[in-house]
């Protein structure tokens, strides 16, 4: 047995889960899919005194599409969203195919990955690109936290220690939007060294009406490529302008050196991936997202 001892509770409602978290102070952790938490327990990088297992709570496993939003409940496995996306959304299919491996995706949840906030994972960047929100329930009731105010540092979010993330909501791209996704990793399924996800809409064959770009693996949190978005919106998307926008977005990143790659390499590859994903998004405008 590798994890340190902890107290275990498996409540049957969200309110009971919130109480169990509040009672334990800052020392409790929510267990959903467990595909990031259990390795941290095994390595004793995390030593919570209490685990609150939410897997027995009914009603958290829904995938709902309503008024331009896609709501994904806290117990929706990554594999379940991948299967949902198969006939519906090439963007979600492509992103989810890059999250670890099928046996991990069978247990790992979409909300868990968003909330775990590993800066090299794909789903937080997708949430940022699609301007999503995290739905959180705490002792004071429910609140919505916008993706761009959610991520603070590696593995650190604005979710309170006594709050349960019950769902995430992605804003679905408007009809006719194009998308792009690319990442560089050592092997398929590994955490990305660098990645990017982009979305573009155009007025007919004319100027870009909306551009969104998000990077992962380039800092302590996923990062929006705002300089690229501003450089493209309202303008004709010529190849030269896409390349310039990609360079501008990469220039303001401040990635770190680590054992896998230098900061300079990451910055250079970020520019390349931004250009490729924006180019792919442009080519797909008018198709399905």
């Amino acid at each position: 047995m590798k994890p340190a001892p902890f107290d275990y509770t498996a409540p049957s409602t969200v309110d009971e889960a919130v109480s169990a978290l509040s009672d334990a102070g800052d020392d409790a952790k929510v267990l959903a899919g467990g595909q990031s938490l259990i390795p941290m327990l095994a390595l004793r990088l995390a030593r919570p005194t209490r685990l609150v297992d939410i897997n027995r709570i009914a009603g958290l496993d829904g995938i709902r599409e309503a008024s331009g939003m896609l709501e994904v409940g806290a117990l929706v496995r990554q594999r379940a969203l991948e299967r949902w996306a198969g006939p519906r959304s090439p963007l979600f299919s492509e992103v989810l195919r890059h999250v670890a491996h099928p046996p991990i995706r069978n247990r790992g949840t979409v909300v868990g990955s968003v909330v775990h906030a590993d800066p090299a994972s794909e789903l937080p960047a997708l949430l940022l690109c699609l301007e999503g929100v995290v739905v959180a329930r705490g002792p004071g009731g429910e609140r919505m936290i916008a993706a761009d105010r959610f991520y603070r540092a590696p593995l650190t979010t604005s979710l309170g220690a006594d709050e349960v993330a019950t769902a995430v909501r992605f804003t679905l791209p408007p009809a006719g939007a194009g998308w792009g996704f690319a990442e560089v990793s050592r092997r398929h399924g590994d955490f990305a060294l660098i990645g990017a996800v982009a979305m573009l809409t155009r007025a007919g064959g004319g100027p870009v009406t909306r551009a969104r770009l998000a990077f992962f693996g380039v800092g302590g949190t996923p990062v929006r490529g705002l300089p690229a978005e501003q450089a493209l919106e309202g303008r004709e998307p010529t190849p030269a302008r896409l390349a310039e926008a990609a360079r501008a977005a990469a220039a303001v990143l401040s990635p770190d050196d680590d054992i896998h790659a230098t900061a300079a390499y990451r910055q250079r590859v970020a520019a390349t991936l931004a250009e490729r994903t924006l180019g792919a998004a442009l080519a797909r405008c008018g198709g399905r997202t």
Binding site: M1, K2, P3, A4, P5, F6, D7, Y8, A10, L31, G34, Q35, I38, P39, L41, A42, L43, L51, D53, N55, R79, A100, H101, P102, P103, I104, N106, R107, R187, H188, G189
Partner: protein, 162 residues
């Protein structure tokens, strides 16, 4: 603190009392004596401990035994029919798909589930699936061939209606 659980493993029901920090992998090996489920890295990277939860492959080192209370688990010991090996096991034997055999149970459990979803996979798809499993003998070529042979065998034993 101990928790009582009831779990069905390879069709047989077991009632046990476990500490919450016991992983499913340790529970299978140490409490039930089912040592066919191998434990490599114990943090989800190597894939050696892959078993089925209901019918889907999962990492047994990344679940707690308390979480499978009331659930159905299948391990490598549960896929043969008596003395007759499962077609995927048979293909690994015929194609030399194993060397030391440490990674084999996990790969076979993943491969069975993979072939249910993709009965005629390409080599690239097989390799993408295998990215979730580490073979320290590096015998991947024969593993890919074994999975291709298993796919063919499964397709000929369950031909799809025209």
């Amino acid at each position: 603190m101990s928790v009582s659980i009831r779990v069905t493993v390879n069709g047989q029901e077991h009632d046990r009392s476990v500490e919450p920090r016991t992983t499913l992998a340790d529970f299978l090996r140490e409490d039930l004596g089912l040592t066919g489920t191998h434990v490599g890295c114990e943090h989800g990277v190597c894939g050696a401990c892959t078993v089925w939860l209901d019918t889907e492959p999962v990492r047994a080192c990344l679940m707690l035994a308390v979480q499978v209370d009331g659930r159905r688990i299948t391990t490598i010991e549960g896929i043969a029919s008596g003395e007759a090996l499962h077609p995927v096991q048979e293909a690994f034997w015929a194609k030399h798909g194993l060397q030391c055999g440490y990674c084999t149970p996990g790969i076979i459990m993943s491969a069975c589930a993979f072939l249910r979803e993709r009965p005629a996979p390409s080599r690239e798809e097989i390799r993408e699936m295998l990215a979730g499993h580490l073979c320290r003998c590096t015998g991947y070529h024969f593993i890919v061939e074994a999975i291709e042979a298993a796919a063919l065998a499964l397709r000929s034993s369950h031909p799809r209606s025209p």
